[in-house]
């Protein structure tokens, strides 16, 4: 149960960060991607802020032998760049620009009940299952 509350608390803070920085607004995301129109650099500032903090804390945290409520750190170890990574990221990017939502802000936005968000999240879950069935 400890791990549930730790995850819940981390995600609560994460969601508030998204909201404070404007990333729950599809208009801000599309504004960042709109390089041939009115470019809005907000998203770049958000990423810089997040990476500045996390790149330092990551080094400090992973000096520990293990996380506080778990036995080991579960970090990706792959180093190879394969076609799946690039094609998957490209498909994700096209969908991201099409709707202005990535997974985090869409989950945060669910409670607004805005139909576009509900349709997006439902379809995203369908897309996740589609991948699971295709990749078997």
């Amino acid at each position: 149960m400890k791990i549930f509350f730790a995850s819940f608390g981390s995600a609560l803070l994460f969601g508030l960060g998204l909201g404070l920085s404007g990333m729950t607004l599809p208009s801000k995301v599309i504004g960042f991607l709109d390089v041939t129109g009115q470019w809005d650099p907000t998203l770049a500032f958000v990423m810089v802020g997040a990476i500045l903090v996390h790149s330092i804390s990551f080094q400090l945290i992973t000096k520990r032998p293990s996380p506080i409520f778990s036995t080991s750190f579960r970090l990706p170890t792959r180093k190879d760049v394969d076609y799946k990574l690039v094609v998957g990221a490209a498909i994700f990017g096209l969908g991201w620009g099409l709707g202005g939502f990535c997974p985090g802000p869409a989950i945060v936005g669910l409670v607004s009940g805005i139909p576009a968000v509900l349709v997006f999240v439902g379809s995203m879950v369908a897309g996740i299952y589609a991948y699971r069935f295709v990749s078997r």
Partner: protein, 142 residues
């Protein structure tokens, strides 16, 4: 974009980085929303609880934002429903194939200086810029 919004963006980003650090410190996990959600598609015993905690935490943040910062979610995007459905399917499928999204690759992966995450982030930003440029050229950008 004003100084106020750039500062909010930097601070908001810092909070996102801090939140990702908490998940790593306490649960030993990468804060990648698409991966955490994807792991719930066919949940396994002992691996689901923390994932559900993340999803409920994000939704609770949504509730709090609606009270303390209603304009954070007030702008309803326009366009036909199928635009958001197609976008959702592509985001769901693409993130599973590519192993991450803006949070997992863009924030956590780049913070580890992962080559895979840097390649993925450059690729999805390029993809997003391409489709938005196409939509703008077609006059359907709202």
């Amino acid at each position: 974009m004003t100084w106020k919004t750039s500062l909010d963006a930097l601070i908001g980003g810092g909070i996102i980085g801090l939140a990702s650090s908490f998940l790593l410190l306490f649960a030993g996990r990468v804060f990648g929303v698409s991966g955490i959600l994807g792991g719930l598609a066919f949940p396994t015993k002992g691996d689901a609880l923390w994932r559900v905690g993340v999803m409920l935490g994000l939704m609770t943040a949504g509730f709090i934002l609606m009270i303390i910062k209603p304009d954070a979610m007030a702008i309803v995007p326009n366009g036909p429903w199928w635009r958001y459905s197609l976008a959702g399917i592509m985001v769901g499928f693409g993130t599973q194939l590519g192993g991450g999204c803006t949070s997992g690759h863009g924030v956590c992966g780049i913070s580890r200086f992962s080559v895979r995450s840097i390649v993925a982030t450059v690729t999805f930003i390029a993809g997003g810029m391409l489709i938005v440029a196409v939509m703008r050229a077609l006059g359907v950008l709202v």
